[in-house]
């Protein structure tokens, strides 16, 4: 995600990354651990800067969301840091969802809270694209986030788990979108609601090896299965609801990111995209730059709107 965000920034777009995974991997990836620790220690207070800091007053029943400012990680790339305490809010979201069905105002406020926080930060910083980083699960937090997204992108590794995960994701999204349609139709007039129409933008193939310009045979079988599953278990399922939620084609691969072996640890320690790390193989860095630039361009062309999200 940081590679795509950096590539987009290089293309002149302003990107906001939202770490919506209570594990905070994205934040830890981008920011020194001491700084992250400090943020997490202070996130309960009035000067907190994480996503939880913004949510806390609402979660405590003490009032409105706090308006937080994201940090600019590199030119054009902003970050709303994650927080372990986001998992508390995830617990609340289960009840909040029930309240939405009961048409309770507290429910609507709760389910749109993250959306509002992110919209505020995006407006304040003139953001073109918002990317949510989410944990690999189908819990109530990801439900609220995916229903806030205009688009979603699936990072798919060449393994059996990813093939299975696509199926689960497609089914869950289908149910969430339909539930949200009911909730929106019951909602009072003039209340802020999630858009509730996440469009499938495609998947990005990951974690495979190349040999002589081709994906090696052990991974190519999975790559073929992923292509099929992405179509049958996501595109087809979403198109049952609305033809515009996915394309009627097998070609949903936005790009492929091979195993850039030694660039990964360098990138992780430096908090830089693959193609900007100090050291590492120059050919590989160039390859990475070309691939991510192509993915970024694909996303920009496919969305042609102000806000995209993954």
């Amino acid at each position: 995600m940081i590679n795509i965000a950096a590539a987009m920034a290089n293309l002149g777009k302003r990107v906001l990354l939202v770490d919506a995974d209570p594990q905070c991997n994205l934040t830890s990836y981008l920011v020194d651990s001491e700084v992250v620790d400090n943020w997490l220690d202070e996130s309960d207070g009035p000067n907190g800067t994480t996503i939880w800091s913004a949510l806390k007053p609402f979660s405590d029943g003490m009032g409105n969301l706090l308006r937080i400012q994201p940090t600019e990680r590199q030119e054009g790339v902003f970050l709303i840091p994650g927080d372990i305490q986001l998992s508390k809010f995830e617990t609340d979201l289960t009840q909040i969802w029930v309240e939405c069905f009961q048409r309770k105002l507290h429910g609507f406020k709760g389910v749109t809270a993250i959306s509002e926080i992110v919209n505020n930060a995006a407006t304040d910083n003139d953001i073109d694209f918002v990317f949510y980083d989410v944990g690999p699960n189908i819990g109530p937090l990801n439900r609220a986030i995916l229903l806030d997204c205009d688009y979603f992108i699936v990072p798919a590794a060449c393994d059996l788990f990813s093939v299975r995960a696509l199926k689960t994701l497609g089914k869950s999204l289908h149910d969430w979108i339909l539930d949200w349609q009911v909730i929106s139709q019951l909602a009072p007039d003039n209340i802020y609601l999630l858009p509730g129409r996440p469009t499938f933008l495609g998947y990005i193939l990951q974690k495979f090896r190349m040999y002589g310009g081709n994906i090696t045979s052990e991974f190519s079988a999975y790559a073929a299965r992923l292509e099929k599953t992405a179509y049958s278990d996501i595109s087809v399922v979403l198109r049952e609801i609305d033809k515009n939620l996915a394309k009627a084609t097998l070609q949903n691969k936005l790009g492929q990111v091979k195993d850039f072996s030694n660039l990964v640890p360098l990138s992780q320690t430096q908090g830089e995209p693959f193609f900007n790390v100090a050291g590492g193989n120059a050919t590989m860095k160039n390859e990475a730059k070309t691939e991510f630039r192509s993915i970024a361009k694909n996303i920009i062309t496919l969305t042609q709107k102000d806000k995209g999200a993954s």
Binding site: F101, Q102, L105, Q185, A187, P188, D189
Partner: protein, 247 residues
Amino acid sequence: MKKVLGVKLLRKIDALTAYYVANRSLFNRSLINLEGYVKDSPTLNSLIHSTKFRTKEPDHLKDKLIRKAIKAAEQGQEFAITPENLFVVINDLAGYRILHLHTTQFQEIDVELKRIFAEEAWTIIEGPTARTWDDESREYFSSIGTTTLPHPNLYTSVHYVIQPNSKITCELQVRTLMEEVWGEVDHTINYPHKTDSVACKEQIKALARATSTCSRLVDSIFTSYRDYQTTSNLASSKTKKTPPKKR
């Protein structure tokens, strides 16, 4: 002369009915939400005997639309119901009913209902309107500021039309248990199609009078009971024999 509706119009009515069926769960959900508010209110719980709710049977909607189409044709007007306005024009697709014991409880029920609707952001677009043919009953509703309407069939009930949002409407009825008896008998015999039996019509009219008398009697019993409680409390507090019972 019997009017016949064209195939095109009948298809339109079928499509409207199908549209309702596809969205029926929204009405059901709204009623469940209403039930939740009512059951959560201690004030209403102390005043109400019971509640019931239902969404309209699709066949009954179809009948109603056909009747409306025939009426429009007779008056030389166009049948103007579309999927966009169906849920607002037909406002009894979701019906919620509150039953209580005696007439004068209505005032407190009304105050509490209005409080709930304000709190939960529901809009009252019509009512409360008391349909009543009895002079004394009309006098009571007028005295508490509730609009009254006569009803040719001797029907008695208070109606509200409420909206969770501008897309959906629900009908809310408040009536006494006595009125419910008459209403249920009348409904069973006369709905969806009115009976032609003169005897039944006559008896239902007579039942309305008996019901009104029973309602009046129940009201009177409660008035007497309140009066008795007040005077006996006054008497016991004067003599200071035993402390008054707390209720």
